[in-house]
C-alpha cells in the first residue's frame, strides 16, 4: 500500500492530527462543513504534485498580490513552497526579463490544459493595447495567449473582474475585465478591491482539492464569498434597525459605532462576505474602522456608487423612498422585511431618519 501523505510528513514533525487540523481549516475557509474533512484529506493526499499557477499582472496597482502576501493559514511561504507551484508571478519571482519569460513559456508548455491562471488588473484594449506592454507584447496579447490553454481562469480583484478603476469613466485606455476578452463564462470573479486573500486561496484550493470551482452567482462570483450582502451580516445592523445613524465622522454616534448608512455606506446593495471573513488575519474590516462600505465588490462601482460618501442614490430601503420590492427582499430578507419596513416608516415619521436623498450625504 502506498505510503500515506501524513506518514511522509512524520519526519518533519507533522502528525496525523496536525494534518487533519490543516484539512479542517481548509474546509472552514471553503465554507464547507466538517463532514468534508475526510474527503479533503483524501484529495490533499492525492495531489502529490503542487498544481501549477500562472499569475498575470495587467493594469493593476499590485494590491491583490499585496493582499495575498498578507495571508495567514496558509501563509505566503506555505502557498509558495507547500501548496502551489506559482511558476510566473512578476511581483515575487526570482528571474527577470528573458529568464522570467522563459518560466512562463515552460509552464504553459509543460502544463498545457492543467494550469490555473490568476489575472490581476484590467486589460487595456484601446489603440491595440499600447497602454500596457510586458516583454514586448501587449497585455491583451499575453492574456489571450496564456488563458487559451488554462484549466481555470480566476480574475483576482475588481479590475480583472469588471474593469475596476482603469475602466472608470471616461475609461482612457478602454480597459475591460478578463471575461470581456476570453468569455465571461470562462472566468471566476473575486471582485472586491482588493480581493480578500481568503477568498482567492479558498477558490484555488476548492478547485485543486475538490476538482471543481465553488458554486457561482450570476456575475460568476463564488457564492460562499459573495452570496449575501454586507448589510445582512453587518455587526452594526442592530443600529440600522434601531434608527441609530452616524451623521458625521468623529462624532459621539461614530464612537458608539452606529450605522454608517447616512455617511454613504453601500452595504445594502453590495454582495460580499467581508463582515464574516474580515481582513488581515481577521483583525478588522472597513465598517469596523468607522468607514462606510464603498461597494467595491460590484461592477462599475466607481461610476454607479459615486460620490462615495453620499447616501445611496435611488436607495431602495423601506420608509426612505424609491422602494423596490426586489431589493427589499435581497437586502433585508423576506422574513424581516415587513416588520422592519413598518419600523423604519415609524422612524421617518418621528423625524429621526430624515427624508434622505443624495444632497444630504455625509462627510461634509
Amino acid at each position: 500500500m502506498e505510503e500515506q501523505l501524513y506518514q511522509k510528513l512524520a519526519p518533519y514533525g507533522i502528525t496525523r492530527r496536525d494534518f487533519l487540523k490543516y484539512c479542517g481549516s481548509l474546509a472552514a475557509m471553503l465554507g464547507l462543513s466538517e463532514l468534508y474533512i475526510p474527503q479533503i484529506a483524501a484529495a490533499v493526499e492525492k495531489a502529490a504534485a503542487r498544481p501549477p499557477v500562472i499569475w498575470l499582472s495587467m493594469s493593476s496597482c499590485t494590491g491583490d498580490t499585496e493582499q495575498i502576501a498578507k495571508s495567514f493559514n496558509p501563509t505566503p511561504a506555505e502557498l509558495v513552497l507547500d501548496i502551489l507551484s506559482i511558476d510566473y508571478w512578476e511581483t515575487l519571482m526570482a528571474p527577470a526579463g528573458e529568464q522570467a519569460e522563459e518560466s512562463l513559456r515552460d509552464s504553459i508548455k509543460e502544463n498545457k490544459g492543467k494550469y490555473i491562471v490568476c489575472v490581476e488588473g484590467a486589460i487595456p484594449k484601446g489603440d491595440d493595447g499600447v497602454y500596457l506592454t510586458i516583454g514586448e507584447k501587449t497585455g491583451l496579447e499575453v492574456t489571450k495567449e496564456v488563458c487559451a490553454d488554462a484549466a481555470a481562469v480566476i480574475a483576482v480583484g475588481s479590475c480583472a473582474s469588471f474593469g475596476g478603476i482603469p475602466a472608470a469613466e471616461p475609461n482612457p485606455t478602454s480597459a475591460v475585465g478578463v471575461g470581456d476578452i476570453i468569455g465571461k463564462d470562462k472566468v471566476v470573479n473575486i471582485s472586491t478591491c482588493p480581493a480578500n486573500y481568503s477568498w482567492v486561496v479558498g477558490t484555488i484550493v476548492s478547485y485543486v482539492l475538490l476538482g471543481e470551482l465553488p458554486e457561482l452567482d450570476d456575475l460568476n462570483r463564488p457564492k460562499p464569498f459573495f452570496g449575501q450582502t454586507i448589510h445582512e451580516n453587518c455587526s452594526r445592523r442592530g443600529h440600522f434597525e434601531a434608527g441609530e445613524f452616524v451623521e458625521e465622522f468623529g462624532s459621539e454616534e461614530a464612537a458608539k459605532e452606529y450605522c454608517l448608512y447616512k455617511v454613504g455606506c453601500k452595504g445594502p446593495e453590495t454582495y460580499a462576505a467581508c463582515p464574516i471573513t474580515l481582513w488581515n488575519n481577521k483583525v478588522n474590516w472597513c465598517v469596523g474602522a468607522g468607514a462606510p462600505c464603498i461597494g467595491c465588490a460590484e461592477p462599475q462601482f466607481w461610476d454607479k456608487n459615486t460620490p462615495l460618501y453620499d447616501r445611496m442614490p435611488g436607495v431602495t430601503l423601506p420608509g426612505i423612498g424609491n422602494v423596490s420590492a426586489d431589493t427589499i427582499g435581497a437586502v433585508l430578507g423576506i422574513a424581516t422585511a415587513a416588520g422592519l419596513g413598518v419600523h423604519l416608516v415609524g422612524q421617518v415619521v418621528t423625524g429621526r431618519l430624515g427624508k434622505g436623498g443624495p444632497e444630504e450625504g455625509g462627510g461634509e
Binding site: T62, G63, W89, M93, I134, P166, N280
Partner: protein, 522 residues
C-alpha cells in the same frame, strides 16, 4: 563594441517596467528607463466629487496606497482650509508608519534579497553552523534544519515555482551557504512580519492594502482603549523584529557586498518633502524633515517648495501641451508612439526641481535628516558607518548598498517613533482630545497641495476644485522622480544616471543591473 541589452519585464517591483542599457568594456555606458504602463487616473479623477479622490488615488499603488490616501487628504485639507485634530494627526501618522514598516520589510526580504541571496546554495549549508552564526550575529535563531529540509524537499520536487530560472550560481553571489540559509529562513519569517505591520494599518483604517478609514479632516476611526492596546502590542513586536532580525541581517550581509557602496550612486541630488508631522505641523520639524541636497553635499540641505517642480515630456508619451508645467497647472494627454530611446520611450513624465533631476526615497530622507542635524538619524547613520568600517564617511551612502542601509535605518526610526506616538495618543485621549475628525464644507472653488512621503519616496498631489468638483488633479509619485526618462535638455533620470558605470559580468544574466534598479524600490 557597445552592446545593447533589454530587461523586460523588470520583476519584483510594483507595476511594469523595462530597462535598456548599452554596455561597453563590461560596464554600463548608457541607460533608458521605460514605464510600460498607463491607466490615466488623473483623467479619471476629473469632474468627480473631491471626497472620492483619496479612494481613487489609493489605487495608484497597491504597495503604497496609504501615502496616496495621505497626500490626497492633505491636498483636500489644504483646499478646504482645515487641519486634522491631534488624535486624527497621530492616527494618520500611525497608519502611514505601519505602511512604511511593512513596505521596507517586504522590499528588502521579498523584492531585493534574491539579488544577494542564493537560495540553491543554502542547500549546502550546515544547519548547526547556521545556528551558531545566527547567535554570533545576534540575529534571529530559527529551526534552520527544518528550513533546510523544507527547501530540499521543494528542490527535489522539481517544481521550482517562483524560484525557477533565477541567476543561481552567478559569481556575483558572495554569501556562504550558511549565510544563505540564514537569509532564506528570514525571507520566510519576514512574510509574517510584513503582514503583522499591515495588521497595524488594518486596525486603524479597516484593511491593508487599501484602507477606507482615510478622510479629509482626519480619520474615521475612534481611538478606543482596545484599539490602542492592539496597536501597542504589535508595534512592540515589530520593534523587536527590526532590532533583532532586519538590522543584524543587513549588517551581516553588507560586508560581503561592500563593493556596492561604490556602485549605482547617480547624481547625489536628493529631495524629501518630509513626513510624519508633530503638533507644530512645520515641514522641517517632521520626523523626517523636508529639504533638498544637490550634488551629494549632505551638509548643505536647502529648503524646497512645491512650486519649484516642473514636469517635462520630450521623451514621454504625452502631447507637447503637457510639457514644462508645474503640476498645479499640469495636463495629462496621452499620445503613444513607437518606443524609440532617441525620441519618446516612457509613460512617465520627467519631473525636475529647478531643472534638476532628484532622487527620492529612504536614502534621500535620511540624508536630508542627517544634513539637518536630526539627532536620531545622525546617531543611526554614524554608528552604522562605524560598524561597516567606514566611520565619518556618509558619502558612501550614495550607492546601491547605501539605499538598502538607509531603508533599514529609516525603518528603525519609524517603528520606534510609532511606539512614541502611541504614548502621544494616550496622552491626547486622557486630556479629552479623542476626536479624530474636523468637519468641513466643500468650497465651490479652491486649490490645494499635499506634500508627503511614500516608503519609496516623495509624493505630491495637486488639486483644483471648481463647482464643488475636481477640475484638475495631478500626482507626482516616487517612481516618477526616480524612474522618469530624460528631460527636455536630455538629462537622464535618476535611475538612468545611477546605472552608468555598473559592471556587468555576463550580459545574458544582468544581475548587477537589477541590483541597482531594485535598490530604489520601484
Amino acid at each position: 563594441m557597445a552592446k545593447r541589452i533589454v530587461i523586460d519585464p523588470v520583476t519584483r517591483i510594483e507595476g511594469h517596467h523595462r530597462v535598456e542599457v548599452e554596455i561597453e568594456g563590461g560596464k554600463v555606458k548608457d541607460a533608458w528607463s521605460t514605464a510600460t504602463f498607463f491607466r490615466g487616473l488623473e483623467v479619471i479623477l476629473k469632474d468627480r466629487d473631491p471626497r472620492d479622490a483619496w479612494q481613487i488615488t489609493q489605487r495608484i499603488c497597491g504597495i503604497c496606497p496609504t501615502p496616496h490616501a495621505y497626500a490626497s487628504v492633505l491636498s483636500m485639507d489644504d483646499a478646504f482650509g482645515i487641519e486634522a485634530p491631534t488624535a486624527g494627526r497621530i492616527l494618520r501618522n500611525l497608519s502611514l508608519g505601519a505602511n512604511f514598516v511593512h513596505s521596507h520589510i517586504l522590499h528588502f526580504y521579498h523584492l531585493a534579497a534574491l539579488d544577494y541571496v542564493d537560495i540553491i546554495s543554502a542547500l549546502d549549508a550546515d544547519p548547526v553552523k547556521t545556528g551558531e552564526l545566527a547567535q554570533a550575529l545576534e540575529t534571529k535563531v530559527m529551526d534552520f534544519k527544518a528550513v533546510k529540509d523544507k527547501l530540499a524537499a521543494f528542490a527535489q520536487s522539481g517544481q521550482l515555482g517562483i524560484f525557477a530560472n533565477g541567476f543561481w550560481g552567478h559569481p556575483a553571489y558572495k554569501l556562504s551557504p550558511e549565510v544563505n540559509l540564514l537569509a532564506v529562513a528570514h525571507y520566510l519569517d519576514a512574510f509574517t512580519m510584513q503582514a503583522k505591520a499591515s495588521e497595524v494599518n488594518a486596525l486603524i483604517v479597516g484593511r491593508a492594502p487599501i484602507g477606507q478609514g482615510w478622510t479629509a479632516g482626519g480619520i474615521t476611526t475612534t481611538p478606543t482603549v482596545a484599539l490602542i492596546a492592539e496597536l501597542k502590542y504589535r508595534i512592540m513586536e515589530l520593534q523587536g523584529w527590526v532590532d533583532g532580525t532586519y538590522l543584524p541581517d543587513i549588517l551581516a550581509i553588507a560586508p560581503f557586498y561592500i563593493d556596492w557602496a561604490a556602485i549605482g550612486g547617480g547624481y547625489g541630488n536628493f529631495l524629501s518633502w518630509g513626513v510624519f508631522p508633530d503638533e507644530s505641523n512645520e515641514p522641517t520639524k517632521q520626523l523626517l524633515p523636508r529639504g533638498a541636497v544637490l550634488g551629494g553635499k549632505i551638509t548643505g540641505v536647502k529648503d524646497v517648495k512645491a512650486d519649484e517642480v516642473k514636469e517635462f515630456v520630450k521623451h514621454s508619451w504625452y502631447t507637447d501641451t503637457c510639457d514644462d508645467l508645474n503640476p498645479g497647472e499640469g495636463k495629462t494627454e496621452a499620445k503613444h508612439t513607437k518606443l524609440d530611446t532617441s525620441d519618446r520611450y516612457s509613460w512617465i513624465k520627467a519631473p525636475r526641481v529647478n531643472g534638476k533631476p532628484m532622487e527620492v526615497g529612504p536614502l534621500a530622507r535620511m540624508v536630508v535628516a542627517y544634513g539637518r542635524g536630526d539627532k536620531v538619524a545622525t546617531e543611526l547613520i554614524d554608528s552604522t558607518l562605524e560598524k561597516l568600517g567606514v566611520p565619518g564617511k556618509p558619502e558612501v551612502l550614495v550607492s546601491t548598498l547605501g539605499r538598502h542601509a538607509a531603508r533599514l535605518l529609516e525603518c528603525k526610526k519609524v517603528v520606534d517613533a510609532m511606539a512614541d506616538w502611541i504614548e502621544e495618543l494616550v496622552a491626547a485621549v486622557k486630556k479629552g482630545e479623542a476626536s479624530t475628525y474636523k468637519s468641513y464644507d466643500i468650497p465651490s472653488s479652491a486649490s490645494g497641495v499635499g506634500l508627503t512621503e511614500a516608503p519609496r519616496g516623495s509624493l505630491a498631489h495637486w488639486n483644483e476644485i471648481s463647482g464643488k468638483k475636481i477640475k484638475n488633479y495631478q500626482v507626482v509619485a516616487p517612481t516618477t522622480w526616480n524612474f522618469g526618462p530624460r528631460d527636455d535638455k536630455d538629462n537622464r533620470g535618476p535611475l538612468e544616471e545611477a546605472l552608468i558605470g555598473t559592471p556587468v559580468e555576463d550580459p545574458t544574466k544582468p544581475i548587477e543591473i537589477l541590483r541597482v534598479v531594485r535598490s530604489f524600490d520601484p
